[in-house]
């Protein structure tokens, strides 16, 4: 008998989820179906967009959606120095800022990182949808594993699409460059380099050490929410991973269960038929379990994971907002204690005050936007998971009921036969 991996009384362990799963960022076993639900090209996306009633919320938010982006076709590039994967990014748009209506470029993960950091730099208090992580902690070798690439591709696709749906971010110059320029490398060299990024980080650190003079209550509440949301998302994510794991182990055992009934049937006469019946029911249910696990991995797990990353994004956004305010406060204090040369400093302080105002407004606006889409995403993911589970049980029910029917039918026949004789 296999050793029981589940503790004797789980209720006591409900508070204590595996620590090691912190590191299991991408489950090794995430197997994703060949036929993914994502559209393959901007053209099919446009069509889906028009026909897809479930996209109601998206439609309402983006009635005039005039830009469609897909990420597909991963290919590996092998050079003397390194090996990496590039993805094809196809854009279809009617926006006037774009010279053409269709673009196709190849981008690698680093390019996406570049885009994200440019966006965060230009719009420090807007909430940018997270990118999939750089590394899989468990093993670096898996970087080129098919499942990993597919998972990443889907996440990159979602990343870009969230940007196209964002009224401000989609107009970003860097976004346009990302979508249209053949070669991104020259752009990567321009823009704030390593040193300026370092100094910004150091300023931020200095500011955080000083602390903020006063924080608007709304942002204090927001901060609290972000921290709680982060904890909750991590918990839900962990639980979901655990469920997936238990499901897989269950399915592995089921796979041995069915064949044993068939084996038994071989040495029986009258019993052979019902035994085979039970065996085939078990096998069918095992297949349904496999599908259920697949669905869970494709829908709920990635969504929860993205919102775990979102929580980190939110924390970063809050930090940046705080830094902007801290910078202003620092300069303001400096101004107060100065006696000469006040005009120039006053201008700087006014600029910084504006910056704070802008940052706060941007955050406020984006905050409710984010809340809405978070609610829609998670609600939809949970609903479809529950629906899939109902579907799973309904299918298994049908399997067993038809077996029962066949047995009862047989026993009726037997009784009729006995009566006749």
């Amino acid at each position: 008998m296999s050793g029981a991996k589940v503790p004797a009384d789980i209720s006591g362990h409900m508070l204590d989820l595996d620590e090691e799963e912190d590191l299991e960022v991408f489950s090794k076993n995430t197997s994703l179906a060949e036929g993914n639900p994502m559209p393959n090209s901007p053209d099919s996306m446009v069509n889906q967009f028009r026909l897809d009633e479930e996209n109601e919320e998206e439609q309402q938010g983006a009635i005039n959606k005039d830009i469609f982006v897909t990420v597909d076709n991963p290919e590996s590039h092998i050079s003397a120095i390194e090996t990496f994967i590039t993805y094809r990014v196809v854009t279809r748009t009617t926006r006037s800022e774009f010279d053409s209506s269709e673009y196709e470029v190849r981008r690698r993960y680093q390019d996406f990182l570049w885009l994200k950091s440019r966006l965060e730099e230009n719009y420090p208090t807007l909430i940018v949808h997270p990118l999939p992580e750089k590394f899989v902690m468990k093993s670096m070798v898996e970087r080129f594993n098919d499942d990993f690439i597919e998972t990443r591709r889907k996440a990159l696709h979602r990343f870009l699409n969230r940007i196209t749906e964002h009224p401000i971010l989609s107009c970003s110059h860097h976004f346009k460059v990302f979508l249209t320029d053949e070669e991104l490398a020259p752009h990567r060299k321009l823009g704030p380099g390593f040193l300026s990024r370092m100094s910004e980080t150091m300023r931020a650190m200095a500011n955080s050490v000083r602390g903020l003079r006063s924080k608007l209550e709304e942002f204090a509440i927001m901060q609290e929410y972000v921290d709680d949301f982060s904890n909750n998302m991590c918990s839900v994510d962990k639980v979901t991973h655990r469920i997936t794991k238990e499901h897989r182990e269950y399915m592995d055992e089921l796979k041995q269960y069915g064949p044993t009934y068939f084996q038994w049937a071989e040495s029986e006469e009258l019993l052979a038929e019902p035994l085979k019946g039970v065996g085939s029911c078990v096998e069918k249910c095992s297949k349904e379990t496999e599908e259920q696990i697949q669905y869970l991995s494709e829908v709920l797990v990635p969504t929860l994971h993205e919102y775990v990353l979102c929580a980190d994004t939110l924390k970063a956004v809050m930090r940046r907002r705080d830094n902007i305010q801290a910078e202003f406060e620092a300069k303001n204090e400096a101004l107060a204690s100065k006696t000469t040369d006040k005009e120039m400093l006053q201008e700087e302080v006014d600029d910084l005050a504006d910056r704070v105002e802008q940052a706060n407004n941007a955050l406020r606006g984006d905050w409710s936007r984010w809340r809405t889409s978070m609610r829609a995403d998670l609600k939809s993911a949970f609903i479809s998971t529950a629906a899939k589970n109902v579907d799973y049980y309904e299918k298994c029910l049908a399997v067993w009921e038809s077996f029962l029917l066949s047995q009862r039918g047989e026993s009726m026949e037997q009784r009729n036969g006995a009566d006749a004789s």
Partner: protein, 398 residues
């Protein structure tokens, strides 16, 4: 399962109603705690009519007494497939189930198993008429002097049969196969139960986590909270589901133990067959010896023959007395062989009677077990549909 076909069952109702703990001194004079079971018997008609039911006759017995009864039946009716007792120790246990003999769940399942054992005996066309069985049910003081049956001992000895009966050989192989496959099935079922338990219980974590999360959400809070409650319900439902499934496992176990009884009958037949062959062999040897003595030829090499050749023939008198002795021996041998043959034929006839009866019983019982397993699965699916539909409704309100 219980047909009122036998005379015994027409007369009385039998049940094992309760279990209780006792302490006492055992054979090596040490204190021990053991379980006793209450056997209740009442006249058959008293239950079906209205009015106050007649109080049953009762007596307490422990498991080892049941074992004694069964051993007695095995010895007395070697051609009968004697129903098995429920397991002595809990086997094929999945983790939540206790392997402790004093655990109340185990005791309860054993009580049911012992009742089943008595009912099987009571409905058996041959065993139900046994007087010792009747005493077991009705007499408090029950001393069974176990027959030191040499037959039973020789069952463990090694012997080879020259002409085995094909039917019995086939039956022996079948029961070996059945034993193997049911054991495997029980092992895997226990592992499946373990894993399923894990799946359901982990969902309980959603209950706690959703509850915490709902505290910080305004619009989503209610939906999350109520969905969490359904997750708790889902997690709790597995306990009843698996308890019911344990009954299915017990039904399979009974037939696993039955295979042991079948093999025992086959071995007993082999023993009889062996003794028959030995008797025939012995007789033919004696006949040959006689022939040799009469004709003076030595076909069988023996020390006596050689020494007589070397040291001179026997006298006519000596030879004649030897022949006479052999003739006597041959006559006894022929009697013995006739007896053995009759014994063997009787055994085979009675055994096959019971084997046919057993086959029918087995097919009926196991088919019913499979059907009840399907019903259990259906019930489990229906519960699942309900819980997840409810959860979906709650998520809709998020």
């Amino acid at each position: 399962m219980v047909e009122r076909g036998t005379a015994l069952l027409k007369k009385m109702e039998i049940s094992v109603a309760e279990a209780d703990k006792r302490t006492g001194k055992n054979t090596v004079n040490m204190q021990e705690t053991y379980t006793v079971y209450l056997i209740e018997t009442r006249p058959a008609e008293s239950v079906s009519e209205g009015g106050t039911p007649v109080a049953p006759d009762t007596l307490w017995r422990r498991y080892s007494e049941f074992e004694l009864l069964r051993t007695y039946l095995l010895v007395t009716y070697p051609y009968i497939i004697v129903p098995p007792l429920p397991e002595k120790r809990a086997e094929f246990v999945w983790h939540k189930l206790s392997a402790d003999n004093l655990d109340p769940d185990f005791v309860e399942r054993r009580r049911v198993g012992l009742e089943n054992f008595l009912l099987r005996l009571a409905s058996h066309p041959v065993l139900s008429n046994d007087s010792i069985f009747f005493l077991f049910l009705t007499e408090v003081l029950f001393l069974l002097f176990q027959k030191a049956d040499s037959r039973l001992k020789s069952l463990s000895a090694m012997f080879r049969v020259k002409n085995p009966d094909k039917r019995f050989t086939a039956l022996k192989h079948y029961s070996e196969d059945l034993s193997t496959v049911i054991s495997q099935l029980l092992r895997i079922r226990a592992r499946v139960a373990d894993r399923l338990y894990g799946v359901y219980k982990v969902h309980g974590n959603y209950g706690r986590v959703f509850s915490e999360w709902s505290a910080i959400e305004k619009e989503m809070g209610d939906g999350l909270q109520s969905a969490g409650h359904h997750m708790d319900t889902y997690a709790a439902s597995i306990d009843d589901i698996l308890e019911e499934e344990e009954h299915y496992a017990d039904q399979l176990k009974e037939y696993l133990f039955y295979t042991e009884a079948v093999r025992s009958v086959c071995r007993k037949h082999e023993l009889i067959q062996y003794e028959l062959e030995m008797a025939a062999q012995d007789l033919s040897y004696k006949k040959q010896q006689k022939e040799e003595l009469e004709t003076g030829t030595v076909r069988i090499f023996s020390l006596k023959g050689m020494t007589s050749k070397l040291f001179g023939q026997e006298t006519q008198e000596q030879r004649e007395s030897k022949v006479a002795a052999l003739e006597q021996s041959i006559q006894e041998g022929e009697e013995a062989l006739k007896e053995k043959n009759a014994e063997s034929q009787e055994f085979v006839e009675k055994a096959w009677n019971d084997i046919e009866r057993f086959k029918e019983q087995k097919e009926k019982d196991l088919r019913e077990a499979l059907i009840s397993y399907a019903i259990m699965q259906i019930s489990m699916c229906k519960k699942g549909i309900q819980v997840w539909s409810n959860a979906k409704e709650c998520f809709n309100k998020m």
